[in-house]
């Protein structure tokens, strides 16, 4: 029998021996990750709003009535929690928009309040930055919804006035207005109905939960590599040299180690998915698990291939188990963060987002997220396969360089 084949067989046998310990470590990791997830969820979804949107208010003409109206609006609890109005000059306001320090600029025309009182309704202009961030996008939606609501209310008021006049019942106008208010509040002005059905989500086509799971799965897989260290770390130098002397090339030795790493990560990942599926089904949350199907299994396989090869590469770079574990942990946290695995990319600074575009974890999270949608973009698969190949070649190169 070929010696390399015997080596691979023995490596797999060794892996089976070490598997119970590895599964125990994976379970421990799961508990740690569960605790982290719980903490992060608590932090992210607590009651208080943590971000206040800054809005530049430009008054074309100073008017005490406008100031009063502005103060009244800002004192409303729902507004005060989310928005901060800053009265500025026109130049300052547009400069704030350009710099991205304001989510919108409101230009209040002169005689706005008088216009409201006399039915002229001089329009208020709202300006948004060109490359609107998430706050501006939300504000834009809210503004458009508000404009819609006002249009309906205005049309109703003029409509009932004309109707009352036509039927000669102007004295009933107050009753009719009260009826409109009642209907509007109960049905017509149901605020959500006025929003567009298009959803804006930082998680793309996924729900926040699905996006979180996708990021969590990749983070878990990377950390799982730490539990697989006995399989991934290089042979001792003396064994490596002896194997080489016996004709087992560095490439074949590397393949044996990688194969065991792949199998152990696959088993660990399978165990993780089985456990999560069981827990979610007990909690009647099975919808949080992606479905099956050939394409999805293929995506799982590609994700696993890429993560295993990356972890294997890290083990070759570090040279020994402890350094590799530390390096892997550090890189996993940084890479998953930059790729938007902990917080969606939309919330991250521009520089971090740019770095994220070059990290394999970004595409791994994308692929994991696509498991919910049923089909992974071919571009993502291509990038992951290229990454796998590059990490594999780099790992082989390092081992070859260090063979003596």
């Amino acid at each position: 029998m070929d010696r390399a084949f015997i080596l691979w067989k023995l490596e797999l046998k060794r892996m089976c021996r070490l598997l119970p310990g590895m599964i125990a470590e994976a379970a421990l990791l799961l508990i740690v990750m569960g605790a982290i997830t719980f903490g992060v969820t608590k932090l992210l979804y607590r009651d208080a709003t943590v971000i206040q949107i800054k809005i530049a208010v430009i008054e074309e003409e100073e008017n005490p009535l406008t100031d009063l109206a502005l103060q009244y609006i800002q004192s409303m609890e729902s507004i005060a929690q989310t928005c901060q109005f800053l009265v500025v000059t026109k130049e300052e306001g547009f400069s704030m928009l350009d710099r991205g320090t304001a989510a919108a600029a409101l230009v209040l025309p002169g005689g706005m309040i008088d216009g409201i009182l006399h039915g002229n309704n001089v329009p208020v202009q709202v300006y948004f930055p060109q490359d609107a961030g998430i706050e501006s996008a939300l504000l834009k939606e809210l503004t458009e919804a508000g404009v819609g609501m006002l249009r309906v209310a205005q049309a109703q008021i003029y409509g009932i006035y004309d109707t009352a006049q036509q039927y000669g019942v102007l004295e009933q106008l107050s009753v009719l207005e009260a009826d409109i208010d009642r209907f509007n509040l109960a049905f017509a002005l149901e605020r959500l109905a006025l929003f567009r059905t298009r959803e804006i989500s930082v998680a793309g086509n996924l729900s926040i939960i699905q996006y979180g799971i996708a990021g969590g799965v990749i983070f878990f897989l990377l950390l799982l590599g730490m539990a697989c260290y006995p399989m991934m770390q290089p042979h001792t130098a003396v064994l490596q040299r002896q194997l080489l002397r016996e004709g087992v090339s560095i490439g074949r030795q590397c393949f044996g180690k990688w194969l065991c790493g792949f199998c152990s990560m696959g088993i660990g990942f399978g165990f993780f998915m089985w456990l999560v599926k069981g827990i979610l089904s007990k909690l009647h949350l099975s919808a949080w698990m992606p479905g099956g199907g050939l394409w999805r299994y293929l995506t799982y396989l590609i994700i696993l291939l890429c993560v295993t090869t990356f972890v294997y590469f890290i083990f070759q770079v570090a040279g020994n188990g402890i350094s590799a574990i530390l390096l892997l942990f550090f890189l996993s946290v940084v890479m998953v963060y930059c790729s938007g695995g902990f917080l969606p990319s939309a919330f991250l600074p521009e520089a971090v987002r740019t770095v994220g575009k070059f990290l394999p974890t970004t595409y791994l999270i994308e692929a994991a997220g696509s498991l919910y949608l049923g089909k992974t973009a071919l571009g993502t698969i291509g990038i992951l396969l290229v990454d796998t190949m590059l990490f594999g070649l780099a790992a082989y190169g390092i081992r070859r360089r260090e063979k003596v």
Binding site: M1, I6, K13, R14, P230, T236, L239, Q242, L243
Partner: protein, 222 residues
């Protein structure tokens, strides 16, 4: 049977071996002594085909090993200082790596050198549970796969107790009686008694000394 001519080796600009010449016959035990870091292990690694020399020639039984690397595999059994073992696997599994033919391994365990080394007693044990002496016996057993005519050992008795040292000496005597050639580096005087010829290595140069030298006379030769 062993003819080494003008072997040189260097790590970068540092010369490790300088014109090393050595020869040995069947059934001969060649001892190499010298202070730590003088190049003994490098010489043995080159003789075993683990490292490549800068220049020189190595002939085993008239065959140029540097031209045909299969000669190293066929003719040399090499026991490095550290044991090339996989601790999580059993002794049997470790041996399987060096004895690709299962039947040959069984035969060796029943009546061959592995049996002489006493390996069948602990063949099912995990390597991580073995003592230093047991591990060294397994390493020797691995080196003897395919019964090579030349056995190279790099300080086989280092860090072993007296009983183990005596055992290893006994195994080597058996090997020599079967007309094998042994090349050994050692700091142990008891092992020197096995040697038919003795070389001293200093600053990468090898010189033969009178094998009858002992104690301070031997030290003076360094």
């Amino acid at each position: 049977m062993i003819e080494i001519e003008n072997l040189t080796s260097a790590y970068g600009k540092r010369k490790i071996l300088q014109g090393v010449t050595l020869s040995g016959e069947r059934g001969e035990c060649i001892g190499i002594i010298g202070p730590n870091g003088c190049g003994k292990s490098t010489l043995l690694s080159i003789m075993a085909g683990v490292l490549a020399p800068k220049s020189g020639s190595i002939l085993y039984y008239g065959k140029d090993a540097l031209q045909n690397r299969a000669v190293f595999q066929k003719m040399i059994g090499y026991v490095p200082q550290e044991n090339p073992l996989v601790p999580e696997l059993s002794v049997y599994d470790n041996l399987r790596l060096w004895y690709p033919d299962k039947k040959e391994l069984q035969k060796e365990l029943q009546e061959g050198f592995l049996q002489i080394l006493g390996i069948p007693e602990f063949v099912k044990m995990r390597v991580s549970k073995l003592s230093g002496g047991m591990k060294k016996r397994v390493s020797i057993g691995m080196a003897l796969s395919g019964l090579p005519p030349v056995l190279i050992l790099d300080e086989p008795s280092a860090a072993l107790d007296l009983v183990c040292k005596e055992d290893i000496k006994r195994y080597l005597q058996i090997y020599l009686r079967r007309k094998g050639t042994v090349v050994i580096t050692t700091h142990e005087e008891s092992e020197l008694s096995l040697c038919d010829s003795l070389y001293v290595m200093k600053d990468g140069r090898l010189s033969q000394v009178d094998k009858s030298l002992r104690g301070s006379a031997l030290t003076a030769a360094f």
